[in-house]
Assembly symmetry: C2
Homo-oligomer: 153 residues x 2
DNA sequence: TATTGTTATACTCTATAACTATA
DNA sequence: TATAGTTATAGAGTATAACAATA
């Protein structure tokens, strides 16, 4: 019974309960002035973070979802003009998914709201605590990934 | 453009991408030796954390879902003998949802696996860093909750 | 009649399976 | 014929609306 461990797990769950709900997503899209569902936002913001076109398979792998899911959302976003397909320079048969100007703007709006929320939450924090949280949370994400995907038994 | 903020947001998303997927849930239930879907686990572990019977409405509020969702899962878990309804001592018309022995064991198994994952991830961390993460993540969960639910505009 | 919970329904999110196309 | 992606389908997760029951 490690009290730190218990606190960390409980805090993580509380965070997810707050952020990962339909109402929270509705708040985000309203504030961002976009009409996008959650997978849409994930894909658009992922492409913005990556900084360039990516293949369907690469997006699916990064978001840890199956590719048909990505295909459907990408197709819909393409029809709406937020994404476009460009030839993969490395592989003539393949295409990459690229943000259009409109898509990049929508992605940026969404990311801005998330950053605003986190920024608001951390507004009263000391520089030291913010830097420590960044360091520790980044390391936790790495280590959890290793722990879950390469389970020791 | 605050680099700490960006890191924190990205790390949080990475954490969710790792932990909040069907395959991860399947890994958890297999390791725990239970056959439960995600809402089932959330409800059971929540009741275990609370340490006593709770009303449907209170569970829904704590998990930030709508009550019909809780009703359905609780009813199914009741039929399977993991939960039972007991009279609310404070309000004769109302019932509270209580873990049975079997339900408490299942909840404990699931929580144990989550703790094992986090414990494994933090195994190489210094005591200081673990304590700091606990302090900072707990505070973040509080502050995000305030920020999102009492939005400043 | 206000509160709480339930039943009925529908929408969102994501997975699996079967198929297609291209090198 | 291996790889990447798509179409089709189904199941899990969650919300809204309408209703029931009880103080």
């Amino acid at each position: 019974m490690d009290p730190d461990l218990t606190t960390i797990l409980a805090a993580y769950r509380r965070l997810v309960t707050t952020l990962n709900r339909a109402k929270t997503h509705a708040q985000l899209t309203e504030a961002a002035g976009v009409r996008l569902d959650r997978p849409d936002v994930q894909i658009l913001v992922h492409l913005l973070d990556e900084g360039g076109p990516r293949r369907i398979g690469a997006i699916a792998e990064a978001l840890r979802v199956e590719s048909p899911h990505v295909t459907r959302h990408v197709s819909a976003l393409e029809r709406r003009g937020l994404l476009e397909r460009v030839r993969d320079p490395d592989d003539g048969r393949a295409w990459r998914i690229a943000l259009t100007q409109h898509g990049a703007e929508a992605a940026d709006s969404c990311r801005r709201i998330s950053l605003k929320w986190f920024g608001g939450a951390l507004a009263d924090w000391s520089d030291h605590d913010r830097a420590e949280l960044a360091r520790l949370l980044d390391r936790l994400a790495d280590d959890i990934q290793d722990e879950v995907h390469i389970p020791s038994g």
